[in-house]
């Protein structure tokens, strides 16, 4: 029982991390048809900015997380304005350009701070563990879950209550129609990119907490699971991404524990294959 509780908490924590990466990815994809390969690099930027702020600049943990998120947001806006927007009429080239950025940014980070992982010191109040139903669970799992929940609620409020949310939702459904109605979708693009980048960078900062260290390849590694989550959840659906990331995190943890280590990652892909065979459009039935 203890093990099950621990696995559930760890799986949900990991799922929360996936959700932070995947939510922005899913929105960007749904709205713009851009598969953002630089999204993992944005996560790395957020992670390293937070690590730098807490380890080198000596700020506290929460200011460091804020700083990392801010830097990641700025980087994503810059990415949208400098790389994505000029290629507006060439969707495939947009993807290719993000591939280039996704290769270059981690390489740059590696050049500056080295290829080795840098240890990330959590603050004292987040370093411990709490007892849940008899299981001892590290606190950082709950921090991640809380952050993911906050992001989910904020995103849903943004999408359902604000004018831009309406434009984004409409754009995900039918971009051509929104444009035809005379609404400038481009500003919504930048906004969605900023939101996605902020979520990814927050994920990066908290990934440092979860894994205890940051390394240049972390973002790309997480990005691939985020892709799986986006496909499973249905493109452009935030709720779908939330459900799928929880499922992926749980499956991965349980398979890792009850079978050989490493099979968890494989079982996620098997899960994806099975889902695609049964429902080619993902959980929420959205078009791929």
């Amino acid at each position: 029982m203890n093990t099950v509780v621990l696995l559930v908490c760890t799986g949900l924590g990991l799922g929360a991390l996936y959700f932070l990466v995947a939510s922005g990815l899913s929105l960007i994809f749904g709205l713009m048809d851009v598969l953002n390969f630089a999204h993992g690099a944005l996560l790395s930027v957020g992670a390293y900015a937070a690590w730098w702020a807490s380890a080198e600049a000596g700020t506290g943990f929460w200011p460091a997380v804020l700083f990392g998120t801010a830097v990641g947001t700025a980087a994503s806006v810059l990415l949208e304005l400098a790389v994505i927007r000029p290629l507006y009429s060439r969707p495939r080239d947009q993807i290719l350009a993000t591939v280039g950025v996704g290769l270059a940014l981690p390489a740059l980070i590696m050049g500056i701070w080295g290829a080795d992982a840098r240890s990330f010191q959590p603050p004292a109040e987040l370093a411990g563990a709490v007892s849940v139903l008899g299981a001892v669970v590290p606190v950082n799992r709950f921090v991640l879950m809380g952050a993911a929940l906050v992001v989910l609620v904020l995103l849903r409020l943004f999408l359902s209550r604000t004018r831009y949310g309406l434009i984004v939702r409409a754009g995900v459904e039918d971009r051509a129609m929104v444009t035809a109605l005379g609404i400038d979708v481009r500003r919504a693009f930048t906004l969605v990119f900023a939101i996605g980048g902020a979520a990814a960078a927050l994920g990066g900062a908290l990934a440092g907490l979860y894994f205890g260290s940051v390394n240049p390849g972390q973002g790309t590694g997480l990005l691939i699971f985020a892709f799986v989550v986006v496909v499973m959840g249905g493109m452009g659906s935030v709720t779908g991404a939330a459900v799928a990331s929880a499922a992926v995190g749980l499956v991965q943890q349980f398979a890792n524990y009850y079978t050989a280590a490493g099979l968890g990652d494989l079982s996620v892909v098997v899960l994806l294959a099975v889902l695609l065979l049964v429902r080619p459009r993902g959980l929420t039935g959205r078009l791929a």
Partner: protein
């Protein structure tokens, strides 16, 4: 599958229209007009120039002969290579360049010819690489049966995974192929049952390889194998693209819905493209194994696939020579930039310049973004674009007015 191919044989040559250059939205259109030397700018040529141009059509043969005799040459190429042409080090690098050029050409069967953006191509390369190595190490098979087993693995895997991932279209397909490839990469790294050797990889058994393929003195033989693989890949790609199936591929690339409306099922054709490309990649894995003497997990990573993508786009996707050019350039640059990073000239630079220059991947990534921006269609389109620009300026100089260059339309589209 058989039903589909029988339909192709009779209907598709007339049923599918040849794509019009410039009509594609992604800038890699126009396979029909590349690699030919027909003047497109409306200038007239004299008799002698036409004969010369006819003779120039045989340049690939001349180039091939040139490449065949490279091991006998001691020609120094300072800057490009460390040693003279025929030295083992240079031969090894040239062979790697040719191998990656061939891999990129095979990958372009998906990207440039069928319009399938696969992010998992390295998996089939790694399947050929590891299965061949394991067949030799664990089953003690000689090279040729082991290679056959490796390629068979690549065929089976690409058939199975292609069948699943082609159930989703568009970007979903890209992500699913990526997920499968990642699973393969993880499997290789976790070293199941001590088979893959984990991070270390596994060396090919020297005792099972013929003596003519082992040792630095025999690099020339490996080089010829790589060259042979390149020629084979080019032949297969050229032949399949020109076949009725290849015409359906072009139709799928331009407009998949139109192919469906014509009564063909794109799924089967896409699967054929996927399996042919996977098979070629598997064969490339065998060549890589012989060339480097072992299997390493780097071959299976998603970065390996992205590198293939970068090569294809750098050179020009959908063109005959572009992917080859891109693969050769990328591989060469990757090696030489690594040398640059370790050189003393870079080490003395201030940190602002030293850090970016010491990361080959950073430079290649930036170069890639620049090419995507400024050169849609890649390096292979460069001569045509320059010609068009020159013709346009000549025309405008003559007429005294500005006339847009012919290729502008396809860029803007």
């Amino acid at each position: 599958m058989t039903a589909n191919s029988s339909i192709t044989g009779t209907e598709s040559p007339t049923g599918i229209s040849v794509p019009v250059p410039g009509s594609a939205s992604d800038g890699d259109s126009g396979t029909t007009d590349r690699g030919r030397t027909i003047p497109r700018t409306g200038e007239s040529f004299s008799e002698g120039s036409i004969t010369l141009r006819r003779a120039l059509r045989w340049w690939p043969i001349a180039l091939l002969i040139l490449f065949l005799v490279i091991p006998y040459s001691a020609f120094p190429v300072p800057g490009l290579l460390d040693g003279p042409l025929g030295s083992p080090g240079s031969l090894q690098l040239i062979a790697l360049c040719l191998l990656y050029g061939a891999l990129a050409t095979g990958y372009d069967l998906l990207l440039g010819r069928t319009g399938l953006l696969s992010f998992g191509h390295a998996l089939y390369f790694a399947a050929g690489l590891y299965c061949t190595d394991l067949a030799m190490l664990e089953l003690r098979l000689p090279v040729l049966p082991a290679a056959a087993a490796g390629i068979a693995c690549a065929i089976l895997l690409s058939l199975l995974l292609g069948a699943v991932s082609l159930r989703v279209t568009g970007i979903g397909f890209s992500m699913v192929t990526l997920a499968f490839a990642q699973a393969g990469a993880i499997l290789v790294q976790r070293n199941p049952g001590g088979l893959s050797g984990g991070e270390e990889g596994r060396a090919a058994p020297a005792d099972l390889l013929p003596a003519s393929l082992v040792g630095i003195g025999n690099t020339a033989n490996l080089y010829w194998i790589a060259l042979g693989y390149l020629v084979l890949t080019l032949a297969v790609v050229h032949w399949t693209v020109g076949s009725p199936i290849g015409r359906v591929w072009a139709g799928i690339r331009e407009n998949e819905r139109r192919v469906e409306v014509l009564g063909l099922r794109p799924y089967g054709y896409k699967l054929i493209a996927f399996v042919v490309a996977g098979t070629l990649a598997g064969a490339g894995g065998v060549v890589y194994l012989l060339l480097t003497g072992g299997a390493t997990p780097q071959a299976a990573t998603s970065d390996a696939t992205l590198a293939l993508l970068v090569m294809v786009v750098l050179g020009g996707s959908g063109s005959r020579w572009g992917p080859l050019l891109g693969g050769v350039l990328y591989t060469w640059a990757g090696h030489r930039l690594g040398d640059l990073a370790n050189s003393s000239a870079v080490a003395d630079l201030p940190a602002v310049l030293r850090v970016p220059l010491s990361q080959p991947l950073f430079l290649l990534g930036c170069l890639f973004v620049v090419v995507v921006y400024l050169l849609p269609g890649g390096l292979a389109r460069l001569p045509a674009r320059l010609r068009a620009a020159r013709a346009a300026s000549a025309v405008s100089a003559r007429a005294g007015s500005t006339v847009p260059a012919p290729t502008r339309g396809s860029e803007a589209a």
